[in-house]
Amino acid sequence: MSDDILVKMRDVWLEGRSDETWNPIINGVDLTLKKGEVLGLIGESGAGKSTLGLAAMGYTRDGVKISKGTVEFDGIDLLTASAAVKRELLGKRIAYVAQSAAASFNPAHKLMDQHVEGPVQHGVMGKGESEEDGMELYRKLRLPNPDQIGFRYPHQVSGGQLQRCMTAMAMSCRPDLIIFDEPTTALDVTTQIEVLASIRDIVEQFNTAAIYITHDLAVVAQMADTIKVLLKGDEVETADTRTMLSAPTQEYTKSLWAVRSFERPLKPAVNAGSVPVVSVQNVDAAYGTVPVLHDVSFDLHEGRTVAVVGESGSGKSTTARCITGLLPPTAGQIMVDGEVMPPDYRKRSKDQLRQVQMIYQMADTALNPRMSIGQIIARPVEFYLGLKGAEKRKKVDALLEQIELEPSQYYHRLPSELSGGQKQRIGIARALAAEPKFIICDEVTSALDQLVAEGILRLLARLQDELSLTYMFITHDLATVRAIADEVVVMKDGRVVEQGPKVEMFTPPHHAYTDLLLSSVPEMDPDWLTNLLTERGVDNIGDAAVDKM
């Protein structure tokens, strides 16, 4: 039985250095992986999933160290092994698939050159043989044009395809173990499905063991035999996938499972005659000479939330840029409260600018790191409302209270001293400081963990009820849409393909594209992916590919 064990980590402690002190990242976690088994490692950001995954390879990033414990791979102690012994294992018997394939492929070399590098350097195969094998793997991973795609540079290939190329590269030496580090997090739902199916299939075919790291429960449910839940460096519980999903024993696991339950009550339909707060009318837009938006029209009514959904590149954020005047449309117009807005923000009056505010996806980069929280919020207060001195301070304090942060505690802090969720709250307060009618929320929760994101959504909902704000909520996450939207606009390739009240959008019949989007959102059912693929007519992607050969 013990011969079956591939990875054995016992009482592993990891520490990371920040500001000259070592802080714990992983506190005494055990991990056992049998040959051919897939272990799902889940937790929120900061739980130490990636660090633990890399430690299973005997690798730590700069500024991280393994302070205690043992890591064995197939009986080899990776912590005492020499660099040369580890290099012999890495790439050949243990491979890694990173979160962002676009960043993890070297931009200077063709995909195939990077693919064959492992086998050639490790002496597993010759260059020609490895290239043949690469094409074979590309074919199995259902990549388009498998004989030629390898001879392109990374930037010439789309994100989903790159992610599959990286899986192929990890497979190039037929390793015993692959670490998948959030391999689909950066992808759109429709692409994610293809990658998930390819990965699952190829791992099964070659009986490769895998550690699958993700924060998405529904994804891990499709991929893993066993799930291990981490919280702030501690193991919460480990169980086989079906048991874990149906009967989690720990409170934390249950709370993770429950996140998706938040949903706002439905609002009555809009009165037929009412003037929309914002109306986007037949807008076309272009970046330089490249047209991006085509005839985009929709209305946003007071006190309601319109979710704009679509994949990356569908024109969601460009529409927001047109509304704010950052990108003047080439045709059509934007109306606020029945009044036509000048297309360019520079031509808008201060009051017109005040009406439309934005909250950004990356709170990290949207807040000036050198300004204190008080200064950040005070700026729009002074600029738009003309308040000074004590009045200004009073307004800032009131705003901080509105976003549920204690003013006396946070006023003088810098953004770097706040957590991701708190930073996003500051972003909200800054938008509210202008006392706008309308706020554009551009993927405001997608960089946050589910529990934190839910807190932000609840806050936005409360503020909407109190201040009767209108939101345009840009997102690619349909769970978020379900939670907060009143109306939904589906975009694809710069066009609106479907729009209407949320209830209608989530009940069939859908537009074909909406249907594809909706059905691609992973569900917690471990059989979901299998069933979906059967439904879509491909029961086993590998077999289908083999048949074609």
Binding site: M57, Y59, R61, D62, K86, R87, E88, L89, L90, G91, K92, A95, Y96, A98, S100, A103, S104, F105, N106, P107, A108, H109, E117, G118, Q121, H122, R152, Y153, H155, Q156
Partner: protein, 330 residues
């Protein structure tokens, strides 16, 4: 590729514009020099009549704008003009005799300077890049620190000091190379090379620091990138990670620093030429400034500016070509 061609043509046009502006600046600056050729040549015995007569001969009495356009017109037709010294006092000047136009006068000097620059580049560029790669590979070790101290102290020392140290060790104590670099036309290549070795080594010491440190910094800057982590996790050797994965992506800044230093090798070698009595363009330039031989000074400045702009242009184009996104558009 059309994309790249447009960028290159744009850069080329910008380069020409820069050159035009530089020509104006040169002309004004040279004319702002106190005293003029007539005064400096006549010295103490200058009478107002004699000065005026020489000025009239040389066209110095014309307004500046007229003189500028006359000069520019000549330059555009490839005529750099005639040296004042050559024209009127052929026997006076210490510069080469027999040549009548500036072009003929400068050509051999410029050739010598280019020869020295190329030898130096052939030594310094590979040396600095290899040193930079090794320093990045063994970063924060004794080797890295020693390399940094060595290159930084050589760039911080005055050139003549480095030159004399090299003369002391390589010419006086161990007579390996000659300390005088009086090369002339028709000298065989090997002898030329031997005579140019000491100035070339001195210049190598001066230019190595920038290039080596930029190579090291540009590579280390990339070591935190995900694709470098990926290369390490593929089990590649540290050397391969740096040479194959980091270096190709670090080329753009390195190329730019190399170009700046090569330009320096052409335009800034006056001191080294003087120390080794090397008959390059720098010496001619200094001599001409001394006697206010304005056409020669202007011609030298223009050549320096052109070399500078051309090298930077080449660097720009090579940086662009080192980016696969531009070489292979989607």
């Amino acid at each position: 590729m059309g994309n790249v061609l447009t960028i290159i043509l744009q850069r080329l046009a910008l380069g020409l514009l820069t050159l035009l502006i530089v020509s104006i600046v040169i002309f004004i600056a040279v004319n702002l020099l106190p005293g003029d050729f007539a005064q400096s040549i006549l010295g103490q015995g200058a009478t107002p009549e004699a000065v005026a007569s020489i000025r009239e001969d040389l066209g110095l009495d014309q307004p500046m704008v007229t003189r500028y356009f006359q000069w520019l017109g000549g330059v555009l037709q490839g005529d750099l003009g005639t040296s004042f010294a050559q024209a009127n006092f052929a026997s006076f000047s210490g510069t080469t005799s027999g040549a009548t136009t500036i072009a003929e006068q400068i050509a051999p000097r410029f050739g010598n300077t280019m020869f020295l620059a190329m030898i130096t580049a052939a030594i310094a560029v590979p040396f600095s890049i290899i040193l930079g790669i090794l320093a990045a590979l063994y970063r924060n070790t004794v080797f890295d620190r020693a390399t940094n101290i060595f290159t930084l102290s050589s760039i911080s020392s005055p050139e003549f000091f480095l030159a004399y140290i090299l003369i002391l060790f390589l010419a006086v104590l161990n007579p390996i190379f000659p300390s005088l670099s009086n090369i002339f036309e028709g000298m065989p290549f090997s002898e030329r090379l031997e005579k140019s070795m000491l100035p070339a080594l001195t210049l190598t010491l001066v230019v190595t620091a920038h290039m080596m440190r930029m190579t090291r910094a540009a590579i280390i800057n990339l070591l935190a990138s995900p694709y470098i982590e990926m290369a390490r996790l593929k089990g590649l050797s540290p050397m391969r990670v740096i040479v194959k994965h980091a270096l190709p992506n670090a080329l753009a800044p390195i190329i730019n620093v190399i170009a700046l230093n090569l330009a320096y090798l052409i335009t800034g070698v006056v001191v080294v030429e003087v120390v080794f009595v090397y008959p390059g363009i720098g010496q001619l330039f200094v001599d001409s400034v001394k006697i206010r031989d304005i056409p020669v000074v202007q011609a030298c400045c223009l050549i320096f500016a052109t070399a500078f702009i051309l090298l930077n242009l080449t660097a720009d184009i090579m940086s662009i070509l080192s980016n696969p996104r531009l070489r292979h558009p989607k």
